[in-house]
């Protein structure tokens, strides 16, 4: 990611953004659909806009949610046996308000999770996120697993394509009836997995030489700083969340 044209959200410490994410999800769980749709969704879109990442953000959110939103509304309407107002009726299709409200409620939390997670990763490098975790004393093994995986997945996908082409050149059929295709699976995946596992030992030695499992504090090439603005922002978010949670509890009790 090019550092030069990053918006203001990228300069925030990852934990700050993560606190926002957690608060949004917590509040979304206790408030009804209006919170998700009228507050979090517009808020995340505006934040994405400030960040200069509106279109990638919006595309990803829509892609993540569209199937769910459509089907959830469909199911809720089909399962609606209430006596609420009928909004639309045609042959055997009946849409009542209760079904729609149920649909909104069920999808609201999904919208919140999708919007906040996608916004978080649009504005934060996974690398930075891992560094912030390590600075909070989370084990470097966690960072290793995440970062190694993110490096390995594209690598393995490329290799799998190469292996598949090689096998096709040797006459493995990948089109045709289902048994043929099933038979193609193992020769395509097998060599990939076995060679990756066999490489493990070399990897282990490389890491050990660099003190991977030694019980000493690690040095970092890249430093991240939590600024005062981060602390203020986090404090503000936590305070606001507590107030809103208290408000909801109070509404429920009285």
């Amino acid at each position: 990611m090019n550092r030069a044209n990053k918006g203001l959200l990228s300069h925030l410490y990852p934990t700050t953004k993560f606190v926002f994410l957690l608060s949004a999800i917590l509040l979304g769980a206790i408030y009804d659909w209006k919170f998700g749709y009228f507050i979090i969704l517009p808020l995340t879109m505006v934040l994405a806009l400030f960040e200069g990442k509106f279109f990638p953000f919006f595309k990803k959110v829509v892609a993540a949610l569209i199937v769910f939103v459509v089907f959830i509304f469909l199911f809720k309407v089909m399962l609606d046996n209430s006596d609420s107002t009928i909004l639309f009726q045609w042959q055997f299709v009946t849409i009542k308000t209760q079904g729609l409200i149920d649909g909104f409620n069920q999808t609201s939390i999904l919208v919140i999770i999708a919007a906040t997670v996608i916004l978080f990763f649009e504005t934060t490098d996974v690398e930075d996120f891992m560094i912030s975790l390590q600075q909070m004393k989370v084990s470097h093994l966690v960072s290793y697993v995440f970062l190694a995986t993110l490096q390995m997945i594209p690598d393995m996908v490329k290799r799998s394509k190469v292996i598949m082409q090689a096998q096709q050149a040797r006459g493995i059929e990948t089109e045709g009836n289902i048994f043929l295709r099933l038979k193609a699976f193992f020769p395509s995946l097998g060599p990939l997995i076995i060679s990756s596992i066999a490489d493990l030992e070399d990897r282990a030695i490389t890491l050990e030489v660099r003190g991977f499992s030694a019980n000493v504090p690690k040095t970092h090439l890249k430093q991240l700083e939590m600024k005062t603005s981060d602390k203020w922002l986090m404090g503000l978010i936590v305070l606001l969340t507590l107030v809103l949670v208290g408000w909801r509890i109070q509404l429920w009790l009285f």
Partner: protein
């Protein structure tokens, strides 16, 4: 380096590979247009070679990483974790070595998948799984079945074959790993042919 430490390092390194295998397996199934997902091979493999803890972690991190671009997957993490743990427990009892064990393992993994995935589908997603199986579910709902019935039936149809096939694939993969690599894993030695 003590033996325990060496085992742990190799097992930890196995996790990213397991996750990548999960991903590639799923992709390959899509490319070959197979009617199965086969996206848990890595989890089961790590469980079989390194035990329930590492299998479970592989499952968890797979879904977290998938969740970066598709937050849906985060909710299903519990399923992947359960599969990893069950695979590891079965491996500890030596059930990945012969046909009888494989059948037991497949059934157990299939069972735990149904038990963990269906509640998530119903409670978090109102019955929708995001894949084409939702068409089957809506058809069943239209015939008057309840949401739980529809979801369970859909899952029985789409998931059963998938899990059995996945376990069988892992069985053959383990057979193909060279012996000297197998010894490096906590549960590896049992798979070396006499």
């Amino acid at each position: 380096m003590s033996k325990v430490q060496k085992y742990s390092t190799m097992a930890i390194l196995l996790i990213p590979i397991g996750i990548a295998i999960n991903y590639v397996g799923g992709q390959l199934a899509l490319v070959l247009k197979l009617p199965v997902f086969i996206d848990v091979i890595g989890t089961i493999l790590v469980g079989a070679l390194a035990g329930p803890l590492f299998g479970g972690i592989t499952g968890l991190v797979t879904n977290l990483i998938l969740g970066i671009t598709a937050p849906v997957w985060i909710a299903y993490a519990v399923v992947n974790v359960a599969i990893g743990i069950v695979a590891g427990l079965c491996a500890q009892r030596g059930w990945f070595k012969d046909v009888k064990g494989i059948i037991i393992t497949s059934v157990l993994i299939w069972l735990i998948t149904q038990l963990t995935a269906n509640p998530v589908t119903v409670y978090m997603f109102g019955g929708v799984t995001g894949s084409g199986s939702s068409f089957i579910t809506s058809f069943l709902l239209a015939t008057g079945q309840s949401l739980w019935q529809s979801v369970i039936t859909t899952a029985l149809i789409t998931e059963t074959v998938d899990k059995f096939v996945s376990v069988i694939i892992v069985f053959f993969i383990i057979k193909a790993i060279p012996a000297r690599t197998l010894t490096k894993f906590p549960l590896g030695e049992q798979y070396i042919p006499e």
